[in-house]
C-alpha cells in the first residue's frame, strides 16, 4: 500500500481511537460510581422568605471523579396546578463541577408567591395546597459534547404557612382608662418558622347590632406562636350596650399578608355569667372528692384530695390562690393554701394534716364531712364544695 494511503488510514484509526477513548472515559466513571450526589451534607437545607419569594435550599455535594468537567449544571422547577397550567417557574443558576473534585452546590427552589394568582396564593398561605411540579436537571459533560437532562414530575405539599387564626372572644374583657372605654379581644395564630420576624397587619373590627363599628389596626411580627390583644376603643354607648348584654356584638380579626387575607370572628357577650366572656380566668373547676382518701402512719394523719381546673388562654401563666379546707361536725379541721400558676390544665393533689380526733371521727364515726375549694384571682372567686357522710367509716 502506498505511503499517503497508509498515513490516511493511520489518521482515521487515530481519530476513531480518540473518539472511542472519549466515549470510554465518559462512560467509565458513570459505571464505576465516580460521579455521584451526596445528599447527606452537613448543612441542613431550609426555607426562607425573601420579599415575596419562598426559597427552599437543599445543599448537596456533587462528586466528579470522572475525566471531564461537568458544566452548566442547572436545576429548574416548574410549578403547575391540577390542570397542568404553569403557575410559576424557578430556574437555578448554572454551575460547573470540575473533574476530580467534590463541589458543594445548593439546589434552590424559588417560588415567587406574587407569580401565583391571588386565590392560589391565599390557599397556599392559609390552607395549604398540593402543587404539581416538574424538576429538571441538566448538565453538559464530555467537553460539552454530551448534554444530559433528567425531568421528573411529582406533587409537593406546601403550607399552610399561617394557620389556626382564632379570635378568643371568651377571653375578651373591657377596660376603662379615664373617659376612654375599650374592649380587649385576644387573638392568636401560628406561623411557619421561616416567616419569623415578618411584619403583617391585622385589623380587628368590633360591630354591634346597632350598627356601631370600631376597629384597631395592628402591626404584628410573625413567630411560631403569635398571641396578641386587640384593644378596640368603644364609645360610652356601645360600651354600655356591651356591658348590659344588649349589644349582640361580633368581633372579627382579619390578617393581611402578601395581598391575601384570612379572618376569624366571634360573638361577644360581656354582661352575662359563664364562659370567658364574663372575665372568668378558669373553667371546669373540679374537686375530685371521689378519689379522696385518708392516710395515717399512727402518728401523722392526712386527708389526700385532688382538684383540677382549666385556664383561659389569656390568663395562662398568671398566679391564682388556691384554698382548700376540710371540716366536719366539730368545725374546720384542716386547710391548705398556696399560689398556683394557671396553665391550660391545672391538677394538684394535697395532703391536708388532720388531728388524731378528726382522723378518728372520720375513720370510726358516723360523721358528716365536707371539703371546700376556693380559687382566687383578682376579684374572681371560684368555688367547689362537696359534703359526704361516713366517707371512710368502718
Amino acid at each position: 500500500m502506498k505511503l499517503p494511503l497508509v498515513a490516511t488510514r493511520l489518521i482515521i484509526v487515530a481519530f476513531k481511537l480518540m473518539v472511542a477513548a472519549i466515549v470510554v472515559l465518559s462512560i467509565l466513571p458513570l459505571l464505576t460510581g465516580g460521579i455521584g450526589l451526596d445528599l447527606d451534607g452537613g448543612n441542613e437545607g431550609g426555607m426562607t422568605l425573601d420579599d415575596s419569594t419562598i426559597r427552599v435550599e437543599m445543599p448537596i455535594t456533587v462528586r466528579n471523579d470522572g475525566f471531564f468537567d461537568i458544566n452548566d449544571l442547572q436545576v429548574s422547577f416548574i410549578f403547575m396546578n391540577d390542570d397542568g397550567d404553569v403557575l410559576a417557574e424557578s430556574e437555578g443558576e448554572k454551575m460547573d463541577i470540575p473533574a476530580g473534585k467534590e463541589t458543594d452546590v445548593s439546589i434552590e427552589i424559588a417560588l415567587d408567591l406574587l407569580d401565583l394568582d391571588r386565590q392560589v396564593r391565599s390557599d397556599l398561605i392559609f390552607n395549604g395546597t398540593e402543587m404539581m411540579f416538574d424538576a429538571k436537571i441538566s448538565a453538559k459533560y464530555t467537553l460539552d459534547m454530551v448534554q444530559l437532562s433528567v425531568e421528573a414530575g411529582s406533587d409537593m405539599g406546601w403550607g399552610p404557612f399561617i394557620r389556626d387564626l382564632q379570635v378568643e372572644e371568651w377571653n375578651a374583657y373591657t377596660t376603662e382608662e379615664g373617659d376612654d372605654r375599650f374592649v380587649n379581644v385576644p387573638f392568636s395564630f401560628r406561623a411557619d418558622d421561616f416567616l419569623n420576624g415578618l411584619q403583617t397587619i391585622t385589623v380587628t373590627e368590633y360591630r354591634d347590632e346597632n350598627g356601631y363599628t370600631s376597629n384597631v389596626t395592628q402591626s404584628v411580627h410573625l413567630s411560631p406562636q403569635v398571641n396578641e390583644m386587640a384593644k378596640i376603643p368603644l364609645s360610652q354607648e356601645a360600651y354600655d350596650r356591651l356591658m348590659n348584654s344588649t349589644a349582640n356584638a361580633t368581633v372579627r380579626t382579619t390578617l393581611y399578608i402578601l395581598d391575601c387575607s384570612t379572618y376569624d370572628e366571634g360573638d361577644l357577650n360581656m354582661g352575662g355569667g359563664g364562659g370567658g366572656g364574663n372575665g372568668d380566668p378558669i373553667y371546669d373547676l373540679d374537686l375530685q372528692w371521689e378519689s379522696a382518701s385518708i392516710n395515717s402512719d399512727g402518728y401523722d394523719h392526712y386527708l389526700i384530695v385532688s382538684y383540677s381546673f382549666r385556664t383561659y388562654q389569656i390568663y395562662q401563666g398568671q398566679q391564682a390562690q388556691v384554698y382548700l379546707e376540710y371540716w366536719d361536725t366539730q368545725g374546720i379541721q384542716g386547710s391548705v393554701s398556696e399560689f398556683v400558676v394557671m396553665w391550660d390544665q391545672v391538677s394538684n393533689t394535697y395532703w391536708i394534716p388532720l388531728s388524731q380526733d378528726a382522723y378518728d371521727r372520720v375513720s370510726y364515726g358516723d360523721e358528716q364531712v365536707g371539703i371546700r375549694l376556693n380559687v382566687y384571682y383578682q376579684s374572681y372567686n371560684g368555688l367547689d364544695e362537696q359534703v359526704f357522710i361516713e366517707q371512710w367509716g368502718v
Binding site: 488510514r9 459534547m145 444530559l148 414530575g153
Partner: protein
C-alpha cells in the same frame, strides 16, 4: 468438465495444507473447544443435564462436519484458482457450511433448550440472516472461478495471453466496463458489508429484544418499538450499502468506477451511523414521571467526521493508483501475490516503455519546423481533418 484439472500436476500439498489448517481451525477446533468449555463450565456449576446433552450432541456434529470441511479445504487449497477442481471442492465446502450451521439447530431443540433455560430466541430467524452471507460465500466460489479461469488457462498455455489495452483509447467512463471487475472481490466485500452492517446489528437487536421480552416489563415496550424501527433502517440502508460495496470491491483501485461507489458508501455509512446513533438523541421516558434525555449529537458528529475521512482516503487512492492501473493496461484486480522479482521486472518494463515513448516524442519534436506560430496552428488544423 475437464477431468484433467484434477491431475496431480496441479496439486500443491503446501497450499492444500494451509487451507486445510484454516478450515480445521474455523470449523473444527474453535467450535469444538468452545463447546468443550461450555460443558466444563456446566459440570462445574452443576448445570442442567439437557444443556449438557445438547452441547455433547453439537460437539459430535462439529467433529463430523469439521473433519469433512477440513478435507474439502485441503483439496480446495491444493488446486489453483480458476481450475474446475478447486471450484468443485470450494463450492461443496461452502454449501456444506450452510448445512453444518443448520444442523446445529438440531431440528429446533437448541431453540427449545435456550427458551427453557434463558429466554425465547428465534434461532431460525438468526439462521435466515446467516443464510444470505453464506449464499454470497457460495457465489464467491463462482466469482473466483470466473475471475481466475482465463489467467489459469493462459498460464497453462491453453489460450493466448490477452494483449494489454492501449491507454490512449481509454476514457474515464470506460472504467465502468465489466471486464475490469473482479466478481470474487465484489462478492467478498458485499458479504463483509452485509455481515457488518446488517447481520450482526440485527442479531444483536434480536438478542436484545429476546432479553427485554423475557423481563415482561411494560416500560421496555417503547424501547422494543425503537428497536423494530432501527431494524427496518438497518435493512433499508444495509442492503444498498452491500450493493455499493459489491461495486467498490468489483472494480480495481484507481478506477472511477471504484471511487464513485466507495464515496457513496461512505455517505450512506454516515447516515447509517446517524440512524443507529438515534440522531444523537436518546430519550427514555418509560418510567412514570421520569424522563431522561441524552443529547450526544456532537459526539456522534465527531464519529461521523472520523468516518468521513474515508472520502479523503478514496480520493488519494484514485489519484495514486490510477497511473499504475493505466500503465498496467487496465487489468483486473485479482490480488494475486506478486513476487518481488516480478514487481521489479514490471516496474523496469514500465520505465523502459516510458523512456522509449519520451525518446519518440523528442524525435517527433526535432522534425517539426522552426517557426513557432506554424508549430502551434498546424497540428490543430490537422486534427480537424476527417
Amino acid at each position: 468438465m475437464n477431468i484433467g484439472e484434477f491431475d496431480k500436476k496441479y496439486f500443491s500439498l503446501a497450499k492444500g495444507s494451509i487451507t486445510a489448517a484454516v478450515h480445521a481451525l474455523k470449523y473444527l477446533a474453535v467450535p469444538y473447544i468452545l463447546f468443550a468449555f461450555g460443558l466444563v463450565a456446566l459440570s462445574n456449576q452443576d448445570g442442567p443435564q439437557r444443556v449438557a446433552d445438547l452441547l455433547t450432541e453439537m460437539q459430535t456434529l462439529v467433529l463430523i462436519f469439521g473433519i469433512v470441511l477440513t478435507v474439502l479445504g485441503f483439496f480446495k487449497g491444493a488446486y489453483p484458482k480458476g481450475s474446475y477442481s478447486r471450484f468443485l471442492f470450494g463450492i461443496t465446502a461452502s454449501v456444506l457450511v450452510i448445512v453444518y450451521v443448520f444442523s446445529l439447530l438440531l431440528g429446533g431443540r437448541t431453540e427449545d433448550v435456550i427458551a427453557q433455560e434463558a429466554f425465547e430466541l428465534d434461532l431460525y430467524l438468526i439462521f435466515v440472516l446467516f443464510f444470505f452471507p453464506a449464499l454470497l460465500a457460495v457465489l464467491m466460489q463462482f466469482g473466483e472461478f470466473a475471475d481466475h479461469r482465463r489467467p489459469f488457462l493462459e498460464k497453462d498455455g491453453r489460450i493466448a495471453v490477452k494483449e494489454k489495452e492501449d491507454p490512449e483509447d481509454h476514457r474515464f467512463y470506460h472504467d465502468f466496463r465489466l471486464r475490469y471487475g473482479s466478481l470474487f472481490n465484489g462478492l467478498k466485500l458485499a458479504r463483509s458489508t452485509l455481515i457488518g452492517f446488517v447481520v450482526i446489528p440485527l442479531i444483536v437487536i434480536i438478542l436484545m429484544k429476546a432479553g427485554f421480552s423475557s423481563l415482561n416489563v411494560e416500560e421496555v415496550d417503547s424501547m422494543m418499538s425503537n428497536l423494530d424501527d432501527i431494524s427496518t433502517y438497518m435493512v433499508m440502508l444495509g442492503v444498498p450499502m452491500a450493493a455499493l460495496a459489491f461495486f467498490k470491491g468489483f472494480y480495481p483501485k484507481g478506477s472511477v468506477s471504484r471511487f464513485v461507489p466507495a464515496v457513496a458508501m461512505v455517505l450512506v455509512t454516515l447516515y447509517w451511523i446517524w440512524v443507529l446513533g438515534l440522531g444523537g438523541q436518546f430519550v427514555f421516558d418509560s418510567i412514570e414521571e421520569i424522563s431522561i434525555n441524552l443529547d450526544f449529537s456532537k459526539l456522534l458528529l465527531l464519529v461521523m467526521v472520523g468516518t468521513a475521512l474515508w472520502i479523503v482516503y478514496y480520493v488519494l487512492e484514485l489519484l495514486l493508483y490510477r497511473p499504475e492501473w493505466k500503465d498496467a493496461g487496465f487489468p483486473k484486480d485479482l490480488r494475486t501475490k506478486e513476487s518481488r522479482k516480478q514487481r521489479k521486472l514490471r516496474k523496469a518494463e514500465a520505465m523502459v516503455a516510458a523512456e522509449k515513448k519520451k525518446a519518440e516524442e523528442e524525435k517527433v519534436a526535432s522534425e517539426v519546423p522552426q517557426n513557432p506560430a506554424e508549430d502551434v496552428t498546424t497540428p490543430v488544423q490537422e486534427s480537424k481533418e476527417p
